[in-house]
């Protein structure tokens, strides 16, 4: 079974320290929700683990199945099994979803190995059906002119096709109406139930998403680290009391 170990991770942008000692282990099949107010370093954490060049790791370790990923290029991390569902996915003009995913699948194959096109399309169509994505989308350029909901569904489609060991989902619920949220959640839940269920780090502001994707663990992030962990009931408690309660509690322990 795969696992991602994040140990005492410190991340900065330029001189500014954002993540300050984050520790968490995610095992395959588990869903960890990370909650917390804006600016506590949630998105920074996800992007830095995926290897975004804007972020500097100033301390700590990130280990996937016993191997440190921090020395790897972003694409090597991806091929090792790390997936990031972006909060703001990029548009790639002129490149169709079918061709893009095909290139991504091909990149995971050994040199000289050829992709079976028929099998590939069969898989692609079944995943699209699951996510209620119109087949017309296969020939549309990646994310170009997509609505917020379409972009997020496209992210989940890619995740379903690439079958990562660990998926970091960055505010996948933002910009979704309730119907789109349900479709996205169904897509994620279907992957949780599959034989190749990934370990999921679910970053969100809101409890709402957790009604649909029920987490095994909930962590509250504040000032660059986890300050409180619990089960799904913690999310409900946060919803009721707001984050100030956690802030106050954290301030008290520090004092």
């Amino acid at each position: 079974m795969s696992k991602l170990e994040i140990k005492d991770l410190h991340i900065s942008i330029g001189d500014k320290s954002i993540v300050k000692g984050f520790t968490l282990t995610i095992k395959q099949g588990e869903v960890h929700a990370i909650m917390g107010p804006n600016g506590t370093g949630k998105s920074t954490l996800a992007k830095a683990i995926a290897g975004h060049p804007d972020y500097t790791i100033t301390g700590g370790e990130v280990i996937l199945d016993g191997q440190s990923v921090l020395e790897m290029e972003p694409d090597e991390r991806a091929r090792a099994g790390l997936f990031l569902a972006f909060q703001y996915p990029s548009e790639i003009p002129g490149v169709s979803i079918a061709n893009f995913l095909r290139a991504a699948v091909q990149a995971r194959m050994a040199e000289g190995e050829e992709l079976d096109a028929t099998g590939y399309y069969k898989r692609l169509y079944s995943k699209m059906d699951m996510l209620k994505i119109d087949r017309k989308f296969t020939s549309r350029s990646v994310n170009e002119g997509f609505s917020g909901g379409e972009k997020k569904r496209c992210e989940i489609l890619q995740m379903a096709m690439l079958e990562p060991k660990i998926a970091l989902m960055d505010e996948t619920d933002s910009g979704l109406d309730i119907d789109a949220l349900r479709i996205v959640a169904d897509g994620v839940n279907a992957q949780r139930q599959s034989a190749a269920a990934p370990g999921i780090l679910l970053i969100t502001h809101y409890q709402r998403l957790l009604d649909y994707i029920v987490p095994d663990f909930v962590h509250v992030m504040w000032d660059g680290r986890i300050v409180k962990s619990g089960d799904k009931s913690l999310a409900l408690e946060l919803e009721a009391k707001g984050y100030d309660w956690v802030k106050a509690e954290f301030a008290a322990t520090k004092a």
Binding site: E73, P74, S90, G94, V95, A104
Partner: protein, 478 residues
């Protein structure tokens, strides 16, 4: 297709399916071994003309052109100063096959060999392209095509042969679309031209398959100063393809071609170029067409490589309802400058022109779009649509756009759109996060950028174009 009568040459993998290339029993006689030496003067021109056994009027034409060339200043008041680095005294203006500089396969740099391999260039062609062999023996294939089109009355020969055997047609149109004095380099070409194609399509004939210079590769054809003249008579149609995507590994650093197209009433000409010059080459080309009434001319032009390319295919819309189109793709990598564009000269009512240009600048590469659209006041119902998009790969890449659109009168319409976009770090990161290497991500972004234009290329060209871009991007990621 006829079975091969004699099997003298080894079968060569054919880039164009269905053409028999095993029929290797026909070869050019290489009975001249001349060299015009370096530098350019009247003697050089006389020498070239005598070697080609030309008629006196052609020699006169060449000598006048030489004078024009010498009198004209370099166009550096608008063009790049890099033109001043051309040393005209060090250039060989005419080399016959016997004097072709010899090199061995071992002397060809490894990266060039690797590129040939990656592009899947057949063995025999590789040697030709690398300058190891003077001649790629595709005469068999060529004579085959020639036979097929000859049945329709189509003339498809090299320009020397055209001048010799069809002077009545040649002379009527030669130098009429692009006069000698059009620019310094058209004058140079007019003085020392050799090689290139001459095509005449009789009225009403629609040539079924594209005519390719590829079939006629020989020392002259890949020469420095090609001269091509294509005449499509009334109601006829022809597609011509020039160049090939393999890097031309050339010892000569100045290439200056002149291409003239004449589309008579209702005729259609499509001229497709894919060029990939070695990065020491100055590629200064003049290409222009005249479109008569209801005629259509379309230039599809793709420029990769070279040190400096200056090329602005144009159409003079001379007859009512004539239509001109230029589709161009340019890729400028480190140390390269692609200065390309289009010229559309409207000279009759209800004429239409379309220009779509996409350029890509990589690393320190620079691309320039120069467009000229001219619609005079007395005309009505003329339309022009110009679109130029530039893509920058790195922050130190450069792109410039110089559109010159003069539309007078109120009965004409023009539209101009230009955009500059960058391959952002975020886009590359997004693709890398899906498992593509940085180079793969870049080439996917570039291929996406030109996708809508590349689709207009013939299949084998667009596939090769994609591979070429992959190769260029691979080298650009440090």
């Amino acid at each position: 297709m006829k079975p091969p009568t004699e099997l003298e040459a080894a079968p060569v993998e054919n880039p164009v399916v269905g053409i028999d290339q095993t029929k290797g029993d026909f070869q050019y006689k290489v009975d001249y071994a001349f060299d015009a030496g370096t530098g350019l003067n009247e003697d050089t021109v006389r020498y070239i003309s005598s070697v080609k056994k030309e008629e006196p009027w052609i020699l006169d034409f060449r000598l006048k052109a030489l004078k024009t060339f010498l009198d004209k200043p370099m166009p550096t008041h608008w063009a790049t100063k890099d033109l001043e680095s051309i040393n005209f005294d060090k250039i060989r203006y005419y080399l016959s096959q016997g004097q072709k500089p010899k090199r061995t396969w071992d002397e060809v740099p490894d990266d060039i060999k690797k590129t040939f391999e990656r592009l899947g260039i057949p063995e025999q062609e590789r040697k030709f392209l690398a300058g190891v062999e003077a001649q790629f023996d595709s005469e068999a294939a060529y004579s085959n095509i020639k036979e097929i089109v000859a049945k329709q009355g189509v003339i498809f020969v090299n320009s020397t042969e055209g001048l010799r055997e069809h002077p009545e047609i040649f002379r009527k149109f030669f130098g009429k679309v692009i006069p000698t004095g059009d620019n310094k380099f058209s004058a140079l070409n007019s003085a020392v031209f050799s090689g290139g194609s001459f095509i005449y399509v009789p009225p009403g004939v629609k040539v079924a398959q594209p005519l390719q210079a590829y079939f006629r590769i020989n020392a002259e054809n890949f020469g420095q100063f090609e001269r091509t003249l294509i005449i499509a008579d009334e109601g006829s149609e022809v597609v011509y393809m020039e160049g090939c995507t393999a890097p031309k590994f050339s010892t000569s650093t100045l290439h200056s071609a002149v291409v003239e197209l004449v589309a008579l009433k209702g005729a259609k000409i499509q001229y497709i170029t894919v060029q990939n010059w070695a990065n020491n080459v100055f590629n200064l080309v003049t290409k222009r067409a005249i479109a008569h009434e209801e005629a259509e001319v379309k230039w599809i032009d793709c420029n990769i490589g070279s040190r400096l390319t200056m090329k602005y295919p144009g159409v003079v819309l001379k007859g009512r309802k004539a239509r001109g189109e230029v589709i161009s793709i340019a890729l400028a990598n480190d140390g390269q400058h692609q200065d390309t564009g289009a010229k559309m000269i409207h000279a009759a009512d209800d004429t239409t022109s379309v220009v779509v240009s996409k350029s890509i600048s990589v690393g320190q590469g620079r691309s320039t779009y120069r467009g000229q659209v001219h619609i005079p006041k007395h005309l009505k119902g003329c339309k022009n649509n110009t679109e130029c998009d530039a893509l920058l790969i790195n922050t130190n890449s450069r792109t410039d756009t110089y559109p010159a659109i003069s539309v007078r009168g109120d009965k004409n319409a023009t539209q101009h759109e230009a955009s500059v976009s960058k391959v952002s770090e975020d886009m590359i990161f997004y693709m890398q996060q899906r498992g593509l290497t940085e180079a793969q991500a870049m080439s996917l972004a570039v291929n996406g950028f030109i996708n809508d234009l590349a689709r207009q290329f013939p299949m084998e060209y667009s596939v090769e174009l994609k591979r070429l871009i992959d190769l260029e991007m691979e080298g650009s990621v440090g």
